[in-house]
């Protein structure tokens, strides 16, 4: 019964924490511009993150190590430095985008420009991390994040042609604007497979003292939680295709367009639901990334770490999330467009994936760490294929998008 409760809570947490500014913005742009044609990118991203999250939990439960710990120990500090720098940079961009997401929600709710909200949002996030416990951060905000299920409800209420949606699950060439199409596909993959998601999950498993008895729980949470989470992204894409596309909005290049997705379905409550979804989802993600930056540096340098410890017991750990939040708020406070930053940072995330995922795969195939619980052929092949696809598409499409100027 206790295990069932843990699984249920884990799934709820995964669902509530899945949607963030990246998955929301990329799915909305993809739906408005290309209808259901990029459903396949969400499916591939979701499959990959299911595998990665399951591996992250299994690694932590069997070895007692976090991923960062494992990579540093297995490859040495010099080799670990490159993935560390890549993840820190990608996380910085994504955290900035998340702070931007909360700031946009605050602007939509109050009419005061988003720039003015960046530093207060960062301060509020810092206060949550300073005062909160791991359980509060992980479960509290994620449970509130269940409000994002409104996109799934909206998608069902719109009664889409499910055959057309299913047809989008098969990758195909676009009828127009191929550079933008592939760039969107890359951004969706980057949003779905953000390294902070699975690295945070492994640190969480260690914080929660998982052992081998949690392997079943881990599998259920990874499989069901991430699948339901992917369904929310799919809901956003369907709603954007049917609402924005149908009203002639084929380009989402201004965040003011986003609340229009839910207004025709729920009226004024659609506006409220959108603002709440954006604020809660992005705030939750900003907290998780802030913690992840601190985990990364503290574990990488062998410092004392733990969100449940008092700040005076792990001052360097707290210093890292304090500094990370402050620095990430600066670009938004200076007026950088959060939507453009989001889309770009998601594509960069996809390009950086080999640096983080490949060393992780080595660990998951190393008997010294996971013994008989090594990866199987299917999980290795699936993750390598999707990450390689994301990398190749990113390398090709990011320059094209930059040169195209859109």
């Amino acid at each position: 019964m206790k295990k069932l409760l843990e699984i249920s809570l884990g799934i709820v947490t995964s669902v509530g924490g899945f949607l963030e500014v990246g998955s929301m913005a990329t799915a909305a742009q993809a739906g408005a511009t290309f209808g259901f044609r990029l459903v396949w990118a969400i499916l591939l991203g979701t499959i990959c993150i299911i595998f990665l999250v399951e591996m992250a939990g299994r690694f932590a439960a069997v070895s007692g190590h976090t991923i960062t710990d494992g990579i540093r120990e297995r490859f040495g500090f010099n080799a670990f430095l490159w993935p560390l720098l890549a993840i820190l940079l990608v996380n910085f961009m994504v955290m900035s985008a998340e702070i931007g997401g909360v700031s946009i929600a605050a602007e939509l709710a109050t009419g005061i420009g988003f720039q003015w909200w960046a530093l207060p949002v960062a301060f509020l996030a810092w206060l949550f991390l300073w005062k909160g416990t791991f359980g509060f951060i992980e479960k509290g905000v994620a449970i509130l994040g269940l409000v994002t299920l409104c996109f799934v409800v909206a998608a069902v209420m719109l009664k889409p042609d499910w055959k057309q949606v299913a047809a989008g699950a098969v990758p195909g060439l676009p009828e127009h604007d191929p550079a933008s199409y592939w760039f969107m596909a890359v951004s969706i993959l980057g949003a779905s497979i953000s390294p902070y998601l699975f690295m945070f999950y492994s640190s969480g498993a260690v914080e929660d003292h998982w052992d081998k008895t949690y392997l079943g729980t881990n599998r259920a949470i990874a499989g069901l939680g991430m699948s339901f989470g992917g369904t929310i992204s799919l809901g956003v894409l369907i709603v954007a295709a049917l609402v924005l596309g149908a009203h002639g909005i084929n380009q989402v290049n201004d965040y003011h367009q986003l609340p229009l997705m839910l207004i025709p379905i729920f009226g004024f409550w659609g506006f409220v639901l959108f603002v709440a979804s954006l604020a809660i989802a992005c705030f939750g993600a900003a907290l998780e990334i802030g913690l992840q930056q601190a985990y990364l540096v503290a574990q990488g340098f062998g410092w004392t770490w733990g969100e449940d410890l008092k700040p005076r017991s792990d001052p360097a750990f707290c210093g890292v999330y304090t500094l990370s939040l402050l620095v990430a708020a600066i670009p938004i406070a200076l007026g950088l467009d959060p939507l453009k930053l989001t889309i770009f940072s998601m594509a960069v995330t996809a390009a950086s994936l080999p640096l983080t995922v490949v060393p992780f795969l080595f660990l998951l195939n190393d008997e010294r760490y996971v013994g008989e619980h090594r990866n199987g052929m299917i999980s290795n092949a699936a993750v390598i294929f999707i990450v390689a696809l994301g990398f190749v598409l990113a390398v090709v499409s990011i320059p094209l998008q930059i040169l195209g100027g859109s």
Binding site: H256, L260, G267
Partner: protein, 100 residues
């Protein structure tokens, strides 16, 4: 779309106003960009630029109507937006049509 939502009471005035302002600025920027790219402009591109200018101006008037809470002004601006959008589509179709 945002004007429909505002008229139905489904979108707050601050949000509708900011959205219209942003649209007007984007349109004005697109017009300036087009002017810079088409020097000297052909008659078709002149028509497209004029229609973009009308759209931008109509969006500004709609914004002013929303801020003033004046549904009649907003309704009039919506008509102007619709007319300018039709003109833009016609000029654009003419400018991309193959020359005989």
């Amino acid at each position: 779309m945002v004007l429909d939502a505002w008229a139905a009471g489904a979108a707050p005035s601050d949000y509708a106003s900011a959205t219209l302002q942003s649209s007007a600025e984007t349109l004005a920027e697109a017009g300036r960009q087009m002017q810079a790219d088409n020097s000297p402009p052909s008659s078709e591109s002149r028509g497209v630029m004029a229609a973009i200018g009308q759209l931008s101006a109509a969006a500004r008037r709609a914004q002013a109507g929303v801020e003033a809470g004046n549904p009649r002004q907003v309704s009039q601006a919506r008509q102007e937006l619709a007319t300018a959008a039709t003109d833009l589509a016609a000029f654009y179709a003419r400018s991309v049509a193959p020359k005989s």
